[in-house]
Subunit: 409 residues, 4 copies
Amino acid sequence: MSRDDPGASPQARYDSVRQRSLKLAEPLTDEDCGAQSMSDASPVKWHLAHTTWFFETFILERLERHFAPFHPAFRVLFNSYYNGIGDKHPRAQRGLLTRPGMAQVRAYRAAVDARIAGLLAAGADAELAALLELGLQHEQQHQELMLTDVKHLLAQNALLPAYFDAPSSAAAPAAPQSWLRFAGGLGEVGHDGAGFCFDNELPRHTQFIAPFQLSTRLVTNGEYLAFIEAGGYRNPALWLAEGWDWVRAQGLDCPLYWRRDGRGGWQEFTLYGPQPLAAQLPAVHLSLFEADAYAHWAGARLPTEAEWECAARGVAVAAGGLHPAAAAGKGLTQLFGHCWQWTSSSYAAYPGYRAASGALGEYNGKFMLNQYVLRGSSCATPAGHARASYRNFFPAGARWQFSGIRLAR
Amino acid sequence: MSRDDPGASPQARYDSVRQRSLKLAEPLTDEDCGAQSMSDASPVKWHLAHTTWFFETFILERLERHFAPFHPAFRVLFNSYYNGIGDKHPRAQRGLLTRPGMAQVRAYRAAVDARIAGLLAAGADAELAALLELGLQHEQQHQELMLTDVKHLLAQNALLPAYFDAPSSAAAPAAPQSWLRFAGGLGEVGHDGAGFCFDNELPRHTQFIAPFQLSTRLVTNGEYLAFIEAGGYRNPALWLAEGWDWVRAQGLDCPLYWRRDGRGGWQEFTLYGPQPLAAQLPAVHLSLFEADAYAHWAGARLPTEAEWECAARGVAVAAGGLHPAAAAGKGLTQLFGHCWQWTSSSYAAYPGYRAASGALGEYNGKFMLNQYVLRGSSCATPAGHARASYRNFFPAGARWQFSGIRLAR
Amino acid sequence: MSRDDPGASPQARYDSVRQRSLKLAEPLTDEDCGAQSMSDASPVKWHLAHTTWFFETFILERLERHFAPFHPAFRVLFNSYYNGIGDKHPRAQRGLLTRPGMAQVRAYRAAVDARIAGLLAAGADAELAALLELGLQHEQQHQELMLTDVKHLLAQNALLPAYFDAPSSAAAPAAPQSWLRFAGGLGEVGHDGAGFCFDNELPRHTQFIAPFQLSTRLVTNGEYLAFIEAGGYRNPALWLAEGWDWVRAQGLDCPLYWRRDGRGGWQEFTLYGPQPLAAQLPAVHLSLFEADAYAHWAGARLPTEAEWECAARGVAVAAGGLHPAAAAGKGLTQLFGHCWQWTSSSYAAYPGYRAASGALGEYNGKFMLNQYVLRGSSCATPAGHARASYRNFFPAGARWQFSGIRLAR
Amino acid sequence: MSRDDPGASPQARYDSVRQRSLKLAEPLTDEDCGAQSMSDASPVKWHLAHTTWFFETFILERLERHFAPFHPAFRVLFNSYYNGIGDKHPRAQRGLLTRPGMAQVRAYRAAVDARIAGLLAAGADAELAALLELGLQHEQQHQELMLTDVKHLLAQNALLPAYFDAPSSAAAPAAPQSWLRFAGGLGEVGHDGAGFCFDNELPRHTQFIAPFQLSTRLVTNGEYLAFIEAGGYRNPALWLAEGWDWVRAQGLDCPLYWRRDGRGGWQEFTLYGPQPLAAQLPAVHLSLFEADAYAHWAGARLPTEAEWECAARGVAVAAGGLHPAAAAGKGLTQLFGHCWQWTSSSYAAYPGYRAASGALGEYNGKFMLNQYVLRGSSCATPAGHARASYRNFFPAGARWQFSGIRLAR
């Protein structure tokens, strides 16, 4: 059952998610779709092919009676990290795959879609339904990456091209910041059983949480600018040791997409192209290092993922546009649809966690080391993909995601 | 009050700890004491000087009425990582400090010792007592590093020199392994208030712990060898993704100090020089990657630090020799004095943690990222330095410490 | 006056060279044209734009009365290495320039071509004629690189796509090898004054050359295979010290585009796609390290560039196809049109060499260090671009050019 | 026959050279002798052992009737780069060999010396005489490296210790600079047959040399300072492309051992410790990159090695102290005994060069790539070791040798 539209058929939900991926590529040229700006990012074309490979490998190959691959080499070319499936094209060289071209990748998608439709027409049992949902959730994750990866790519080009035309929107001020108190105590953490979740959200389990406070909204560009102007990037006392090494090795003094405009002000590169820095918008594209240093400077701290989840439970989930918006409303705002929020929690297995058997067991578990959890969702997260128990995770230095700061204390 | 000898005076305890550092250097030549085998390790001479610098900088400079440094350049040369103190000699180049020589470093130690004695003779107030204890605990930490660092140095030399003559000991078999059950529930974690602890052991706080089991003893060389022979280092399904990259990038197939003996068997390099691998001894010098892969292969897991601490509370603390010994006795054995035990817990601040103000606040807090907690103590840990709440921490790939595996499930 | 067609007008020659660049891109998709397989190589699109930038920057900007750039950002985006012109887009990130797209680059070419035609229509003085010829020779150099760079790109793709359909050609055996003797003595080296040459071929000067012998033809695949089978890649005694480090660091055991076919034989990747290794064809895509080791093994040596030039003077220059052909005929064969031939000569200024003033002085002179001279021309060299005094140069480890071995002794 | 003292016996000459090595270590502690400041440099202890290994391996092992090694592991520990001998201790880890200690290395030297004396007492045939002379020349090369390597080591230490007490010398001004003209023509290059030479000085052969001029003296600190103050390190137009990359990657703005004194002036670190920069002394510890850029700026060029050799033939050879002295006298001064002089010549085999057979053939030939020739000798070169045909060679970025600039035009 679709989370987007509870009444939709499996086929309709499948079509809806799959078509959105192609829709995301529409503002781009075939040349845009082929390039890879760094090894952490992938070409849009590769995302389109890999998500298709996922359905082909984990559904068609298992369930089709007479399976034959669309192209034998694609098994290697579009395998991301599944050792259980076999060899992989080197991650850092995905941008060199000028063949297959976009036209062939579209044909690949169409062929797999038709075969999935054939399976669905024959009736979806529980295994097919579960694998299909996993494939669609997986594709939604890659939809978010398509946007963050293409943003990173376009930012490398001195022409600073826009992915999309900027909307003409009035600049509303951000709602004032205040603190919400939570009593803590024994709480349940993890997915509650209804609807889809990833294996890393399970099992739901008990944690003891001390009383805490959360900020009602995200840290804004204006607030982060004050940190910069107070010498935040030059004061080692504010930083984790590894963060300070990171700042100095790269000579950093501002967030990833900020640039001085040459007239004493700042610009921010967005999916709408370069824009004057808007003080009321959330500060975004920050590493955990920066988030932690800011919190330290502000006399606060980052929340744990358990605190965040308990506070967010029951809050309505909203989806965003192509850039975070200013905080509006009362209570706990901007949990979903603006930017992911770094927590202080290392990405680790919940007590009793079990990975799936076989290659699908590589989906999450093997990455539970030296990464930190982000909670919420971002403006790039597809509608229907976010929930309070969702665990996103990246290394502490990652900045190309829409990641920002919600303070705790 | 000394933890070693409760009746000792502060001066006697100071002398006892300080003299032990020099004692550790006795089997070594001055040349041995100057070399640095990798940037993670330091020369013995540097350890001897840095621990002295700690007393000079954090006690003499604060409390002496007319402080003058022993040598102005030492402030930089022997500063480890305190940005609050100022510049630091580059960590990777500590082995290039042929001056001051060992004789001058001994003179430096003697001069600082005399001035500390002067302060103590004038009466030790609470501040001096606290700083003195911190300095002695700090020196004990470096005493352990002196042994692990010199072991790493000697292992780089094809002559494979012994640090010390091997004792002639009968090879006792290891006690059989079994599982101890723990009921879990709400538990208190962190130091309990009596005696010294580091800031990272505080504050004591409540955690909810699910029921668990711990192995009665450490994993042995014989057991680890079975993992190797079963292809453990060649099967990516057993490893964390980063661990598998680590294994392949370095071409690893055994623990740090194991070497094939050319006759189908194995040798292990120890502080007694190379020895035939003894199946009953604990497997040691393992990374977290290896510990985790072994646990995976064995159908078990690593404990969390909270599980370990709750299980260890009240167990008597023992000190070791220069190499771990075989498990003996019943119940939970080998908690202390053999090897540190990797946990699955990321090194993080306890809820409500506060670092000290000033440069001493850099002691622990800034390292709480991308490191994992080890519990217990090793054969190299000085007597009186271990306790159930002690938190040791290293990156997942570190192997030169005496680190091994206690399984949980 | 054109070297291709002595009677052609400057405009006709310009059109002919410029059109050939577009012709080379015809077998490729726009996606193929955008990718960069390594920092030494450039995307085809970048070559098409940079060669246009050269005419715009060094001719239009100098000679047009009211110069305005086609696009201000292109000055940076398509500057290769001219510090005298200003900033440069990072070399290793040329593959990230998805904008301008191929259509815009074609428009850029057309616009500059029209403006050049305007200048020519107004009459070509000596300065214009000289700059125009330099621009065309420069473009021909890039035409060769377009082929070698796209070959390298296609080779990274497991699909191993062909750039062009293979011709159906009968496999002729190679002419037998013999040695030609040269008397040496005082010889003149460098361009003789008629027709175009690069500044590095000047001034013509006297050298004393001892008697020497040259092989009548290039080393073949069959001969090189014998070197491999004799353990050539495993014997350090055959290699320069830096070459041996290079072999071991990369784990090499064959030329760049050779692959074992899984049935005991070898394949070679070519612009026609993968082909069974043909023993009679020249061994190609070799580094200087490999050429030198082979010569050592064969009891011979590489020629100096002076020897090569004196021997080649007066030999007719031929152009090739997309792959070297087997030696045919008598006397000194395969000097031109098959593969560049490594010499033992370091790339250095001729006595009395003067670089041009201004940014054009950066064309050659600043690269005269740690590179070695190759002589002749390859199958990828445009017709009319080769001559006996031509000096090509690459670092000793470069393999992606059509580079092979002519022995001397 | 000794070059130092023509009447000395082989044994006396052997003793004299061997004792000088130990003499060089006298101002140093055992700790100083063990450290290695970078992989290009070696510990003094290693030099003392390796030069002994050379006699043991190439003389005792060949000529002793019942050869047994002093210590079997030394064959590996003290092998520098002879693949023909076997395995080698990793070059970058020579500073980790705290065992054998200096006392054992002295014992090693004494034992080999005694066995060499035994062979000599039995009568020195031509083979022994030739090998002995090679071993002594080899040891003299390492005597120079002992000084340059220890200078580099001491410079890494903030204490800036002096190797030796500075002499009290009056500061004489440098002789004025002028140009000497040479007619060129056919010249003979290479050793002339009398006395010892290395294989790379052979065979003597004919070269044609165009007329040229050489500066009468070396470039001084004062002249080089003018280059710095004119922005020499900030102007890419003066530098080879690789040199400019080198300057920027390392952020360089002065020679290796220059430091600003904090009062607007400069200090130079010397073997006498830090000294105020003396304008009249030769500029030294320069890379080829710097020498070439300076020459470019000064409107001159570096000489070729053939020009240098022809000019220097017949000039008396002088030895120096521990630092270059100011130019004195008329004519061509400072050829020998001050600093090596970079040439523009790539280090390459002379026409007809043949390396020795066996492992000794690795002495020179395998390094003839990507290195440049320096001519003359330095203040650190032992007396009797220099001659006009001597070819020293280093990569273009090497600065820790006493290397400077003699201009040509």
